[in-house]
C-alpha cells in the first residue's frame, strides 16, 4: 500500500514537471509570436522611411550600384571596367593588380570578371568584415593549374579561413599565423571549363565546403573574429567570376 502511494506520488510529480515544461514552452512560443508580430509591424513602418532615405544615397553613390543588397547580405556582379571595379569593390591582402591580368568579358550574355594570375599568390577581399557567413561564387576555370580559394574571416595573408578547390581536391581549413590547418579534405570530380558554384559556410564551430550546392567537406573549429571575405588565387591560367553572394548567418545557441 505504501509502495503504491509512493508510486502515485512520484508519477504525479513527474507529470507536473513535464506539464510545467510544456506550458513554459507554449507560453514562450506565444510570446515570441506576439513579439514577431509587433516587430514586423515596426519593420514595415521603418522600411517605408528607409526607402525614401536610401533613394537619395543611391543617386549619390554610383560605385555600389552593382552590389545589390539583400538585407544584410550582398550579391556582387562585375559591371563596367575591370580595373575600376577591382579598385573600388576590393582591396588586396596578398599581392596586387600587378600580379594578374584582369578584364571584363561577356560570356553567354553575362558580364564576367576574367583573372589571369601570374603564379604568385594573390588575394582580393571585399571591404566589409563579416562573422558567421555563407559565400557562394559562380566561377569557371580555363586551363587553370593551381588553387582557387574562397577566403573568409581573413585579417591578412597569414590569418584566414578557406575552402580551396584544385584539379582533384577540395580542402577546408584555416591559416593561423601562417600555419595551415586542414579540417577536411576530399577528392572531388568536377569539370573545368564549366560554370560551377563553389560555396563555403561558417556557422559557429561548423565549417562546410560545397561544390554545386552539394556538401563535400565538413570540419569543426573555434569561431574566429570577424574578417574579410574574398578570393585567393595561387596558380596560372584563367579564372572567370560571374557572381559572388555573401549571406551573413545568424548565430544560434
Amino acid at each position: 500500500m505504501k509502495t503504491i502511494n509512493q508510486l502515485i506520488g512520484a508519477s504525479l510529480i513527474f507529470l507536473a514537471l513535464v506539464f510545467s515544461i510544456s506550458c513554459n514552452q507554449s507560453n514562450k512560443t506565444e510570446h515570441e509570436a506576439e513579439h514577431e508580430h509587433s516587430e514586423s509591424e515596426e519593420h514595415e513602418h521603418m522600411d517605408s522611411e528607409d526607402h525614401d532615405h536610401a533613394e537619395g544615397e543611391m543617386d549619390h553613390d554610383h560605385d555600389h550600384e552593382k552590389m545589390d543588397s539583400m538585407g544584410d547580405g550582398m550579391s556582387w556582379k562585375p559591371e563596367g571596367e575591370a580595373k575600376n571595379f577591382m579598385q573600388n569593390d576590393f582591396h588586396f591582402i596578398f599581392g596586387g593588380l600587378d600580379e594578374m591580368t584582369i578584364s571584363s568579358l561577356n560570356e553567354e550574355g553575362d558580364e564576367v570578371l576574367s583573372v589571369n594570375p601570374d603564379g604568385n599568390v594573390s588575394a582580393f577581399v571585399f571591404h566589409k568584415s563579416e562573422g558567421n557567413i555563407g559565400i557562394t561564387a559562380s566561377v569557371k576555370v580555363v586551363d587553370y593549374n593551381g588553387e582557387l580559394k574562397l577566403i573568409h574571416h581573413s585579417k591578412n595573408a597569414d590569418n584566414y579561413e578557406f575552402v580551396s578547390l584544385s584539379e582533384k581536391k577540395m580542402e577546408l581549413g584555416r591559416v593561423v599565423d601562417g600555419v595551415k590547418k586542414v579540417f577536411d579534405s576530399k577528392v572531388v570530380d568536377w569539370e573545368p571549363k564549366k560554370w560551377i558554384t563553389l560555396s563555403v559556410t561558417a556557422a559557429g564551430s561548423h565549417f562546410k565546403g560545397y561544390l554545386n550546392d552539394k556538401m563535400i567537406t565538413h570540419g569543426h573549429g573555434d569561431e574566429l573574429e570577424k574578417g574579410y571575405v574574398g578570393i585567393m588565387l595561387n596558380g596560372t591560367g584563367t579564372v572567370l567570376i560571374k557572381e559572388i553572394d555573401i549571406t551573413p548567418l545568424e548565430a544560434e545557441h
Binding site: 509502495t3 506520488g9 514537471l17 514552452q25 559556410t201 559557429g204 561548423h206 560545397y210
Partner: protein, 150 residues
C-alpha cells in the same frame, strides 16, 4: 516492407524518437527510484539509461549523416549546427551520467538513498538537454522545412 521508406531522407527521422522516449522514461525512473528506493526500479533505470544512451548515439550519427546530405541551405545552416552541438551535449551528458550512476549506485554501501536523490536532481539537467535539442530539431523541420518534400 523496405527498411528505409522512400519518403525518408535517411535513418535519422525514423530512430530519433527512441532516445527521446527512452531517456525521458529513464529520467522518470531515476526520479522514482529516489522516492521509492526499490532495487527493481534502480535496475530498470540502468537499462533505460543504457538503451537511451545507445539510441542517442545512433541518432547523433545518423543526424550527422543527414546534415551532411542536405544541400546548401544558408537559412538553416546555423540552426543545423546548433542542433548538432546540443545533440552532442545531450549524448555526452547521458553517457557520463549513466556510467557514473551505475558505478556509484552499484558500489555504494551506505547513503544510497541520498545518492539517488542527488542523481535525481542531476538527471533534470538531462531532461532540459533533451527538450532543447528536440526543439532545435523540430525547428529544422517545421521552420526551415528540412527533409520535407516540396
Amino acid at each position: 516492407m523496405e527498411l528505409l521508406p522512400s519518403w525518408a531522407p535517411g535513418l535519422h527521422p525514423l530512430i530519433i524518437h527512441f532516445p527521446i522516449v527512452l531517456l525521458i522514461f529513464a529520467v522518470a525512473m531515476v526520479l522514482l527510484d529516489a522516492i521509492i528506493n526499490k532495487e527493481w526500479i534502480t535496475k530498470a533505470s540502468w537499462v533505460l539509461l543504457l538503451l537511451g544512451s545507445l539510441s542517442a548515439l545512433a541518432a547523433y550519427l545518423t543526424g550527422r549523416q543527414a546534415a551532411d546530405s542536405i544541400g546548401l541551405n544558408l537559412m538553416a545552416e546555423s540552426a543545423i549546427g546548433s542542433h548538432s552541438d546540443w545533440a552532442f551535449y545531450t549524448l555526452s551528458f547521458f553517457f557520463i551520467f549513466t556510467g557514473v550512476l551505475f558505478f556509484v549506485t552499484k558500489k555504494a554501501k551506505r547513503n544510497k538513498r541520498q545518492l539517488k536523490i542527488i542523481f535525481a536532481f542531476i538527471s533534470l539537467i538531462g531532461l532540459y538537454l533533451i527538450a532543447h535539442t528536440a526543439e532545435l530539431g523540430g525547428r529544422l523541420v517545421y521552420e526551415f522545412g528540412l527533409g520535407v518534400s516540396k
